[in-house]
């Protein structure tokens, strides 16, 4: 067990940011912590990283209590805080050398060079951090989290604010690193979590609302099937079909049919039903609900 969180609670004055959450993460997993703004993702990560040490409940890394063994757990994890804070007046190499010296690594120079290669910073290593683009700054942030080759990476919104190309690059970088590490990263974008990892923990207002493989989550949440029809004329009849819940006319001879989800595909029956009533079917599509829908259902419902 890499990370274990039990009844974790955190208050900021009156405001309850975490209302007792539980989860555990095995070593080697890549897990997305998903939730809208204010869900409690950052708070969870600040506790796991040892930055905040006043909370209720338990949090442990590799069996070590975060509160009791802060120095040990800080050796085990690499942490990228939200907004990627950096010393803008330092040079890339200077900064990474500073971070390496905190960890008292042997062969600092070699290690810094390795991490610069790994994160693709070779051409920028002699630049001031403030001269770098957002994407490269993000690489520097990842490099500082990776410099001591930690077992566990905790990344707080590592891709927020990047342009689409940078986004793809950083995701790829995280995926590559993830081949041999445990990673928890947070995001408020569902697609991102889908792109990088296979398990997702969804938080909403300090409560854990889902924790599952993404595929299962999709199935478990979609208890309905939605089919869109377009006909050549209006069909003003009673729709008698198996498992039908609701018919919603949406104008222009178009209808939304909502079915209870069963193993049986309702489309052949719909086709026959329409033909029997002397209508012509122009279009029939099943609307696949996306992970966005799932996410919205979980966090709004």
């Amino acid at each position: 067990m890499s990370i274990l969180v039990k009844n974790l609670e955190k208050r900021y004055g009156e405001q309850k940011a975490l209302a007792g959450i539980n989860f555990s993460i095995d070593s080697g997993e890549i897990v997305g912590l998903l939730g809208p703004n204010g869900a409690g993702k950052t708070t969870t990560m600040k506790i796991l990283s040892g930055f905040m040490d006043v909370y209720d409940g338990e949090a442990s890394i590799n069996g070590l209590d975060v509160h009791k063994s802060p120095l040990e757990i800080k050796q085990l994890i690499g942490y990228l805080p939200e907004h990627n804070p950096l010393y803008l007046d330092m040079y890339v190499r200077e900064y990474l050398t500073f971070i390496a010296s905190i960890y008292r690594l042997d062969k600092v120079k070699e290690r810094v060079s390795n991490i610069i290669d790994l994160t693709g910073l070779k051409a920028e290593q002699h630049k001031l951090i403030k001269a770098l683009s957002k994407g490269y700054r993000q690489r520097v942030g990842l490099a500082q989290a990776l410099i001591h080759d930690p077992e566990i990476l905790i990344l707080d919104e590592p891709t927020t604010g990047l342009d689409p190309n940078q986004l793809v690059e950083i995701r790829q970088l995280i995926k590559n690193i993830g081949a041999e590490k445990t990673i928890v990263f947070s995001s408020h974008i569902m697609q991102e979590v889908q792109a990088i990892c296979d398990r997702v923990i969804i938080l909403n207002r300090g409560v854990l609302v889902a924790d599952d493989k993404i595929d299962y989550l999709d199935q478990a949440l979609n208890k309905q099937r939605e089919i869109l029809l377009e006909l050549d004329k209006s069909l003003e009849v009673d729709w008698v079909l198996h498992d039908l819940q609701e018919v919603i006319p949406i104008g222009n001879h178009q209808y939304r049919l909502i079915f209870n989800k069963t193993d049986k595909d309702p489309r052949p029956e719909i086709f026959d039903f329409i033909v029997e009533r002397q209508c012509k079917l122009l279009q029939m599509v099943e609307r696949k609900s996306t992970m966005e829908d799932v996410f919205q259902k979980m966090t709004l419902g």
Binding site: G50, F51, D89, Y103
Partner: protein, 244 residues
């Protein structure tokens, strides 16, 4: 701690801050000691460094808060404090690393004034007519004074994310601890030992005492406790602050 110390010192000397601090200190001191007629040593009948040890604390009153104003406020403002606190470092290592960095810079600024000592040593009639014990005592006093001012200014810098605010709070606190207690003690409502006690809380009293050349263990204890108190408050504030 060493890593933080090196970072701080590099920070001073890669952003000009360090050179400006040393330059301003020596220029002001030089002007006041040698050029401005009111204080000028050349118009003075004794060969002594009294001016140095009277003027330097006044310069430190604003120079040291300026050196330390970034220390924590900038880290808080930019969020890099979160990087430091999630590395395997204790709060004390971070505080002492920064403290030692500032102390080193002040030491570098004071060091060249030894030249003044040699100049006056030569100017003396007969040559070398200067109380060496007193000079050494005064240097130690000055260094202790700087050590307290740095502790106070670090505390000020942890209180605000804004460097200017940190500077002003630092300068005010340094002033209060340096002169404030003395002034308060002269208010007539304090008498019968209370005035004496108030004076002894202020730095000025102990600075004068050490500068006389006789180093009393009580004065040393005073300086060490004052430094500790402010660093401890810094520590407490940091702990509390990061959980809010």
């Amino acid at each position: 701690m060493w890593a933080i110390f090196v970072k701080e010192v590099n920070g001073f000397f890669s952003t000009l801050t360090g050179y400006v601090v040393v330059g301003v200190f020596l220029t002001l001191l030089g002007l006041i000691m040698w050029v401005f007629p009111d204080y000028s040593i050349l118009d003075y009948n004794y060969a002594s460094l009294d001016q140095l040890f009277t003027v330097a604390p006044i310069i430190f009153l604003f120079l040291i808060p300026a050196i330390c104003m970034r220390s924590f406020s900038e880290e808080k403002q930019s969020g890099t404090i979160e990087i430091l606190f999630t590395k395997p470092l204790t709060e004390w290592q971070i505080i002492l690393g920064k403290y030692a960095g500032a102390l080193f810079l002040v030491f570098i600024a004071i060091l060249p004034t030894v030249i003044y000592y040699y100049t006056i040593w030569h100017l003396g009639a007969p040559q070398g007519n200067i109380d060496r014990g007193e000079v050494i005592g005064s240097y130690i006093g000055l260094f202790f004074l700087a050590a307290i001012f740095i502790a106070i200014s670090l505390y000020a810098s942890v209180l605000s994310n804004n460097q200017i605010v940190a500077f002003l709070i630092g300068a005010l606190l340094c002033f209060l601890v340096y002169y404030g207690f003395y002034f308060i003690s002269t208010i007539p409502v304090f008498f019968g030992g209370v005035d004496d006690l108030l004076q002894k809380i202020g730095i000025d009293y102990h600075y004068r005492s050490i500068s006389n050349g006789a180093i009393d263990s009580r004065d040393v204890l005073y300086f060490l406790s004052a430094v500790f108190i402010f660093l401890f408050m810094t520590h407490q504030y940091l702990r509390q602050n990061r959980n809010q």
